[in-house]
Homo-oligomer: 105 residues x 2
C-alpha cells in the first residue's frame, strides 16, 4: 500500500467522521462497544439502538452507516430484521498511530 493510497484511505475515514450526525452515530457505537467489552460479551448494536438524539430520517441514517462502513470504520452484518454494527478495531489502531506518533504529549 503506497503512502498515497494510505493518505486517501485516511482522508476518507476522517471525512466520514466529519459530519456531525455520522460522528454521533460512531461515538454511540464506540460507547456501546466499550460497554459490551466491559460486560465481556460481543456487542450487538443494531441500528435503531444507536440513534440517540439524532434527528434525521431513516434513509439518511442508512446512507450514513454505509458511508462509515465504506470508509472502513465500522463493520456491519445482517441478523434477521436488524443490522448489527461494530467498530473495526484494526482501523482504530491505524488512526491512533497517525495521531499519537511516539505517544508523546
Amino acid at each position: 500500500m503506497s503512502p498515497k493510497t494510505d493518505l486517501r484511505r485516511l482522508a476518507r475515514m476522517f471525512k466520514a467522521l466529519g459530519n456531525e450526525n455520522r460522528l454521533q452515530l460512531f461515538v454511540n457505537l464506540l460507547e456501546e462497544s466499550q460497554l459490551d467489552l466491559a460486560k465481556g460479551r460481543t456487542h450487538d448494536c443494531f441500528l435503531t439502538k444507536l440513534l440517540g438524539g439524532l434527528d434525521i430520517g431513516a434513509p439518511t441514517v442508512s446512507h450514513h452507516v454505509k458511508e462509515l462502513a465504506d470508509a472502513g470504520l465500522i463493520d456491519t452484518q445482517r441478523d434477521g430484521k436488524q443490522l448489527i454494527c461494530s467498530v473495526n478495531p484494526e482501523v482504530m489502531r491505524e488512526l491512533r498511530a497517525l495521531l499519537a506518533p511516539g505517544d508523546q504529549g
Copy 2:
C-alpha cells in the same frame, strides 16, 4: 462545554482532515514537528516548506491552512514574509482521547 458543542468541534476537526490535500498538509506538519522535537528546537514550518507533492495553487493552500486553523488543529503566526504553522498539541490530545478510549487495542 456541552457534549453537543464538543461533538460539533470534533466533527469540524475531522472534516478539516477529511480532504486529501489538507490531510497531506497536516501530516507534513506533524512530521516536521517531530523532526524539530527530535532536534530539541521549536519548529519553524513556513508554508511553502509543507507543500511536498501537493499540486494545488497558492490560493487553495491558503484556504486550506485557514480551515485547519479554524478547526483548531494548527496554530499560525506571521514572521515577516512567512506564515509559521504548528500543530496544536492540546487538540491532538483531545483527538487521541476520543479514538483510544482506555488505550486498549
